[in-house]
């Protein structure tokens, strides 16, 4: 039977559609011209300019710090949550699962807004702390779901077997839980880390003046400074994310 050409053509068209903006961005970041209109020759000047911008360095540092803290928090909370939902099949856990699941269907703008109201309501100063609390909240759901997926292949009878053989919890964690669930934890952590680094909308609403992360900084730079610096910054940002993704692919693959 002769295959229709429509799927192939749509597929190729869609790939062009996806790569066009990114390709142009990379090319433009090496363009010496101040605005993207014409090509003034190859140059590293935007990368050099970026190197001198201490405000961007500060934002990058904030982003990293927030990502590390919220990854740590969401992995601990998420692993516990997944364990409970998987292990105890009670009504409480059904509500628990609902609470984990609901944030995934709520758009960012609403989540950011509601957290802003919470912080205003309790009179908390918007700071790096409020950003960490917000990031942990949305990362928690993703980490839990990744962990739940891993736990499905995990047989709790192994723990009972180990206990029967006289192993204490220390040994069980070291010899059974970490080797079997470690890759899942790592995948969840990398996911949380990238989600936190990438988030703009929620951060934008719960960050106070002077506490910017890289995406918020990029957003404010779009209105003012030269677009070419943003291109250079974007290329670096993109490279870092790709490296993290490649790492996470490794972890996921070693499991399956």
């Amino acid at each position: 039977m002769k295959q229709s050409r429509i799927p192939l053509l749509t597929g190729l068209l869609v790939l062009v559609f996806f790569y066009l903006p990114i390709g142009m961005l990379i090319v433009q970041s090496f363009n010496a011209a101040k605005f993207g209109g014409q090509w003034n020759g190859f140059s590293f000047r935007w990368y050099e300019e970026l190197w001198a911008r201490t405000d961007i360095h500060q934002a990058a540092w904030n982003t990293l710090l927030i990502a590390l803290l919220s990854t740590l928090l969401s992995v601990v909370l998420g692993a516990l949550a997944a364990w409970c939902i998987h292990h105890f099949k009670t009504r409480t856990q059904r509500v628990h699962y609902g609470l984990i699941y609901a944030p995934l269907v709520v758009p960012d703008i609403l989540m950011g807004l509601s957290l802003l109201f919470l912080f205003v309501n309790v009179g908390a100063q918007l700071s790096l702390t409020t950003i960490v609390l917000a990031h942990t909240t949305f990362c928690l759901s993703y980490v839990t779901l990744v962990m739940l997926g891993r736990l499905q292949d995990f047989d709790p009878a192994m723990i009972e077997a180990a206990q029967d053989l006289g192993a204490g919890w220390g040994t069980i964690i070291r010899r059974i839980l970490l080797p079997l669930l470690g890759p899942g934890l790592a995948a969840g952590a990398l996911l949380a880390f990238t989600l936190s680094i990438d988030d703009f909308v929620i951060t934008f609403l719960v960050s106070g003046p002077g506490n910017t992360t890289l995406p918020v900084k990029i957003f404010s730079m779009m209105r003012r400074s030269s677009p070419q610096v943003i291109n250079a910054l974007s290329v670096i940002f993109m490279t870092v994310t790709f490296v993290i993704v490649l790492l996470s692919q490794r972890f996921t693959r070693s499991q399956t």
Binding site: P7, G11, M24, L113, S114, F117, L140, F219, I230
Partner: protein
């Protein structure tokens, strides 16, 4: 069995309390704040009032809400129209190529989405390459504006959400038994008929997930209209952010947030209805959770 219950509570408390405190309670707060009076100083007044809800009848709001809804509907329809053939294409590729193409589809979306929107702004810029190309072929006038309008928003919305449509559609298409299409053809169905009455119903779980994963975040868009949209193409998300940050009118932001929440319940309701209908007709059908495929997930 006293001990297990006690252990369960102890282990459940951290994440449970966290989500109640930072998700459930704040969501209810949005509704509560919409009944509070706003003060000019930017703070929230004492007592309760319906004034904020009355101001929503102001002519600009219905227009913005309506625009948000129709832009999201068109975006979802286009994403499904493009996503179905792409999913079909990938599912019929040899195994090795399937993996490669999937990675190619996902890779661009590991770029921060603000950066991608920004790239579109450069691309659609009056002096940008795309504009020059269109003018060269005579498809656009030199004075045409590609940016800061509904069209630009729609283009970037589709670019952002299309992979979230493709992934669940592919997941469903991969499980589809393509020999059924050949069987339909042997029985005399046309290519199109076989596709419509065998393939599309076969991937309906994927269609439903794709619909939710595209439509809901599109309704809540903020950054896309803020960057490539103009003053006359705002969406609810923009107004919410504007009221919450620049204007510091928290009750009005809350009321708009409440409206958006109510709007979102419609697609969720439709999905729940279709899923129930599906289960009644085919009791064996099991639905996996409609989870976004990865970072960026439902969070652009």
């Amino acid at each position: 069995m006293k001990r297990p219950r006690w252990t369960e509570s102890l282990l459940t408390v951290p994440s449970f309390v966290w989500l109640v405190a930072f998700f459930a309670v704040p969501t209810l707060l949005v509704f509560a704040y919409s009944f509070k009076p706003a003060e000019l100083s930017g703070s929230v007044g004492e007592g309760w009032t319906l004034d904020t809800w009355r101001t929503l009848a102001n002519p600009i709001y219905p227009a913005i809400i309506w625009r948000t809804i129709w832009l999201s509907i068109i975006c979802t329809v286009v994403c499904l129209l493009l996503g179905v053939p792409v999913a079909y294409w990938i599912a019929r590729l040899p195994r090795l190529w399937r993996q490669r193409v999937l990675i190619l589809i996902i890779l661009p979306f590991w770029t921060n989405f603000l950066i991608r929107i920004f790239a579109w702004r450069t691309l659609l810029h009056p002096d940008g390459g795309l504009k020059n190309l269109l003018v060269f072929f005579g498809w656009a006038q030199p004075n045409d504006q590609l940016l800061y309008n509904n069209g630009a928003i729609l283009l970037v919305l589709i670019n952002t959400y299309l992979p979230f449509a493709i992934l669940p559609l592919y997941a469903a298409a991969e499980k589809f038994d393509f020999s059924l299409l050949d069987a339909a053809r042997d029985l005399g169905a046309t290519k199109w008929r076989a596709f419509r009455s065998i393939f599309l119903p076969g991937i309906r779980t994927g269609l439903l997930t794709a619909f939710l994963i595209v439509f809901i975040p599109a309704l809540g868009s903020y950054a896309i209209p803020a960057i490539v949209g103009g003053p006359s193409s705002e969406m609810i998300g923009n107004k919410i952010a504007q009221r919450a940050t620049t204007d510091r009118n928290l009750p009005e932001a809350a009321a708009l947030g409440a409206v958006l929440t109510l709007v979102i319940l419609v697609p969720l309701g439709i999905a729940a209805f279709l899923r129930r209908k599906d289960q009644r007709e085919t009791p064996a059908a099991t639905d996996g959770p409609a989870v976004a495929a990865g970072p960026g997930g439902s969070h652009p």
